[in-house]
Each structure stands twice: as C-alpha cells, then as structure tokens.
C-alpha cells in the first residue's frame, strides 16, 4: 500500500528497460559478432536509401516530390520502422516461441508477456538501421523548404512518436496472426516489411485504392506520408482532406487499441503445445 500509482504505472516500462539491458549484456559476450552485424545492417539501410536517391534522381520528381522531399518521406518511414523494429520487432518470433514452448515460460512470470516477448533477444544492432535513417531525416528536414512555425516545430516530436507507436502496433497486431497459425511469420512480414516498403515513397505514386486502404484500413499513410504533407504544408495530391495530416496521433492510438485487442484475444485463445 505504501507504493502509490506513481510507481505502478511505469512498471512495464521499467522492466522492459531492465530486460533489454540484460539482453544487451548477454550479447556483449560476442562483441565481434555484434559489431559486424550492426555494420551489415547499416549497409543494408544505406543501400535502400541509395535506391530512393536513384529513383528520384532519374525521375526528377514523383507526384510533385523532389529528392529532398522524397528523402523526407523515406527518413520518416525508416526511422519509425527502425525504432519499432528495435522496440517491438521480436514479437514476430511469437510462432517460434509457441512451437518450442518458450512462450509458456513467459506466461508464468508476473510480467506482461508482451514485454517479455518484445525484449526477447533485444539487440542494439538495430541501431544500425536507425542511425542512418535518422541522419537522412535530419538532412531532409534541413534541405526541404519547410516553414518552421512554432506549431510545426512542436508537432515534429509528436509526429515521430505517433509514427513509431503506429509501427509498433502494426508489428504487434500482425504477430498475433501467429496465435492462430504458428507458421504465419511470412504473412506477418508482408504487413510489417511490406508496409515499410510502402511508406518509404510518397503515397501519391501508388494507385487510388492503395492510398485509400493505407489511410483507412491499415493506416500506414500516417507513418510518413501525412506527416510529410504536414511538415511541407502542401495540399494532398491524392485529393483526400487536408485535415487528415493532423490525425497521426489519432491513427496511432486507434492502431494501438486494435493491437491490444488482438493480443488479448490471442492470449485468450492460446492453445500452447502438446508437451
């Protein structure tokens, strides 16, 4: 009773940090491997970025977006997905944990199993993705012609947090498919990595149906496209209402609620393995 709500509220976060730190210490047992993998991950991220530059370099402009604006969209998308991958990416191994019975051992702890799952094999090598992406984002923010009103400056961190939360929710919700089919990791990846590929380019380059479904069904448009429109202060070339660009926090909250429902439903119908 001596502990008021103040200490109870951040508990999952505290134990998250504790567990993630423990995994990092375990990884430090193999420093060479960690460094090499981080380097390879960054090389992969740089290659993706190169592709964006080449595409825009050849096309000059896509849907009214030049190289700098294109890199802004890419930077927002890659930073958000990179952070989400580091924070929640491990949830995609849910099916594997169910098959090996390791998920059962997570359920017998007085810690939210999602925290245990998300921190499982937490690795700082994913910084190899985040650091280049964030560098591109900063560069694009400087190079783009952005009218830095106080509202925009204040909204930037809000947009980033929303994007990361949205991506985390997409990761979690799609991992929940594995409660039903434990070998559905590839299906989940089509949403997570596929979603990332979708958000790396201005959404206007895609067809109308893609834009609509990425806005109203799986709200990936709010990861990079709508935030970019907000920052650049441009009218939406796809013809959707301009007010949508203020909606990323709402989309993120909604998607988090959907992910939480999926997770709870999945836990309830969890069947464990035979042994």
């Amino acid at each position: 009773m001596a502990e008021p709500l103040r200490t109870r509220a951040p508990w999952p976060l505290r134990i998250y940090v504790r567990l993630a730190w423990t995994w990092c210490r375990a990884l430090a047992q193999y420093p060479a491997s960690l460094v090499l993998l981080t380097v390879f991950v960054s090389l992969g991220a740089l290659a993706e970025m190169g592709a964006v530059v080449i595409v825009f370099g050849h096309a000059g402009e896509l849907a009214g977006f030049g190289v700098a604006e294109g890199l802004l969209v890419y930077g927002l998308s890659a930073t958000a997905f990179g952070c989400a991958d580091m924070l929640m990416g491990s949830v995609e191994r849910l099916g594997q944990h169910i098959r090996t019975g390791a998920f059962d051992t997570m359920l017998i702890r007085p810690v939210p199993p999602l925290v245990l799952l998300a921190t499982d094999q937490f690795t700082p090598r994913r910084l190899g993705k985040i650091v280049p992406a964030a560098a591109v984002l900063v560069l694009a923010l400087v190079r783009c012609d952005i009218d830095w009103t106080p509202a925009r400056a204040l909204m930037l961190p809000v947009l980033l947090v929303s994007s990361i939360a949205l991506c985390c929710a997409v990761w979690t919700a799609s991992a929940c498919i594995q409660f039903v089919a434990t070998d559905a990791r590839q299906a989940a990846n089509s949403l997570t990595y596929g979603g990332q590929a979708l958000t790396e380019y201005p959404l206007a380059v895609y067809g109308r149906e893609v834009v609509r479904s990425a806005t109203f069904v799986l709200p990936l448009a709010f990861v990079s496209w709508q935030p970019a429109l907000f920052l650049l202060g441009r009218p939406d070339p796809t013809g959707l209402p301009d007010a949508l660009r203020l909606a990323p926090p709402v989309a993120a909250l909604l998607m988090c609620a959907v992910a939480a429902l999926c997770w709870r439903a999945g836990l309830r119908r969890y069947r464990s393995t035979g042994s």
Binding site: A26, V111, R271, S275
Partner: protein, 325 residues
C-alpha cells in the same frame, strides 16, 4: 515466506475440462474434430501436500498443469489456485507460485547464473534485502556457490536444474509446480533435488505438485498420487494403495552360472531368457522362489525389481481397477 496453514485448499478444481478443436484433411474438405484433453477433473490439494501427478504421455497432465498456472483457459469447469482464477489473474498468480519446466530453462543462456537470478528479483519485485537473504539460503541448500558466476550455457543439466529451482523459489511461493523436475539427471543430482524438495516442504510448508515418469521421485516425495488417463482421473490416493490396487508383479532377474532352459519354479513364471540371464515374474513370496532357484541352479547374481510406476499406471488405465478414492 511460509504459506498460511489454514485449511483452505491451495488448488481446487471442479469438473475442469479442456477441449481442443483440430482441423483435419485437405484445405477444402477440412473437418473439425473436437478432442477432449482433460475431462471433468475434480481435485483438491491442501497447503503442505506433495502430490505426484502421473499419467502416460498425452493423458492430459500438461494440459491440467497449464490450466492451473493460467497458461490455458479451461473449456468448462472451475479452477482456483491460491484463491485466484488462473487464466484471468495469471500475472497475480504468477507472483505467488513457482513453476519449473524440467525440459526448458527460464535462465538467461549467456549470463552468469547470478545475473539471471538478479533479473528474477526485478521481475518478481523482491526487495533487495529479502532477495539477498533468500539467495544465501538457497545457495547453501542447493550448493550453488561453485557455479553462481558461471554462464548458464556452461552449466551441467543438474546445475541448471538447481538454478531453475532457485529462480522459481526466490519469491517464496506458496505452491511449487514442477513438470518433470528430474528428467535427464544423474542419480546424485536426483537425490539432491529430492532431498531439497522434501526439506522445502517440511520447513516452509510449500505445497508441491509435480509430474514425473520417475518412480524414485514418486516413492521418495509423494505421499499422494493422482493418476490421469485419457483426460479423466483414474486414481487419487497414496502410493501403497495404487500398488495394491494393480496386479503388477515384481520381477526377479537371475544370472545363472551357465545358460539353461527357462527355469520352472512354483511362484515364478519365466518371461524372458537372454543367455544365462532370465526374467521371472513373481506371484509369490520372493524369498521362497529365490531359495528354490538357488537350490536347483548355480546362481551368479540376483536382482529383485519392483514394478515401475509406468507398469502400475499402464495396468491402471487398461481398466484393471476401479478408482480408489
């Protein structure tokens, strides 16, 4: 740390059942079939008991254990553990019970055992002073000292098991649930773990529920045995009652001085011959049979084998006896 010794059951189930729906056949003509893994299990365990939960593979042992720990949600029936409803209050229950799966570790593979246990302290939110005292006690009892600083991946199976037990007991649970705790261990490690569990039960009153295929575990630890077969309870009582209820003969293994045709003695039936070694199922006092054999043959060695629990259980679920409740 000690559990309350009131008379309220620590485990209470009423008509506990769990069905699984299987989908079979090709995608388009897929049929659904319902299999009941646990059917109508009613069980009461009081604080301080040590209960062996036995049954062949696939009988529903693990499913029951998983419903008791909140991993699985029951299809029907009621279950209460430490006064909580496991599947709904799983996290709260987890703080009050300890669970060890013999086949998988909950320790961090690459970290020294001490660090894994320190992490356990944070997960169970144990005050540092309590943790230190408890860890010192368990280190002493389970002799963890020599390998506290060793990474878990370098521990032997027996050492790891002791580590896992420690991790499950640091928060002083009222109930310890063990799934095959001695599987794969050598004789010395088994003995150490059994002695520890008995002491834990006697000194702290910790209730212990364990599944095992090891007769030694059952004989040494369990005053009460519950047998489950094809999802339903087949026996609930003490071990002697279980033995008495099943006509599982003891076997005399005889090493004769030289190979011979099957020995024929009153009270013994030869069931197997391998060179000079013969196996006799006893229906009578072994002393008389042994005397008769040694009178007739040159005997190099003799071993008397108790029926192992697998045989007793197998005979039980062939429907040989009614439940002795």
């Amino acid at each position: 740390m000690t559990s309350s010794h009131d008379d309220r059951p620590i485990i209470e189930t009423l008509g506990l059942s769990r069905d699984f729906t299987l989908r079979e056949g090709p995608l388009l003509r897929r049929r659904r079939r319902t299999v009941s893994a646990v059917r109508d299990v009613t069980l009461t365990v009081r604080p301080g008991e040590i209960v062996g939960y036995l049954g062949p593979n696939g009988a529903g042992k693990s499913s029951t254990m998983k419903m008791l720990t909140g991993i699985l949600t029951p299809t029907a029936g009621r279950v209460r553990v430490a006064g909580l409803e496991p599947s709904r209050e799983r996290t709260r229950l987890a703080a009050r019970i300890g669970v060890v799966f013999g086949q998988r570790t909950t320790l961090w593979w690459d970290l020294p055992l001490r660090d894994s246990l320190e992490l356990t302290r944070h997960m169970y939110r144990i005050p540092a002073a309590d943790h230190a005292r408890r860890l010192a006690e368990l280190t002493d009892l389970l002799d963890l000292g020599p390998f506290l600083a060793t990474p878990v991946r370098q521990l032997s199976l027996g050492q790891r098991m002791r580590g896992d037990l420690t991790a499950a007991l640091l928060h002083g649970p009222e109930l310890l649930v063990l799934d095959e705790p001695t599987i794969g261990l050598d004789v010395v490690s088994k003995a150490a773990i059994r002695a520890f569990l008995l002491r834990l039960n006697a000194e702290e009153g910790t209730t212990i529920l364990l599944t095992t295929h090891d007769l030694g575990d059952v004989e040494r630890l369990c005053r009460r045995v519950v047998v489950i077969d094809r999802g339903t309870l087949a026996y609930d009582g003490d071990l002697a009652g279980l033995r008495a209820s099943v006509p599982a003969p003891r076997v005399l293994v005889v090493d004769l001085a030289a190979p011979a045709p099957p020995v024929e003695v009153p009270g013994g039936t030869c069931v197997r011959v391998e060179g000079p070694r013969q196996w006799l199922e006893l229906s009578d006092n072994p002393a008389a049979v042994i005397a008769e054999i040694t009178r007739r043959h040159g005997v190099a060695d003799l071993t008397l084998r108790e029926p192992d629990i697998e045989h007793v259980v197998a005979a039980l679920y062939r429907g040989a006896v009614p439940s002795a409740d």
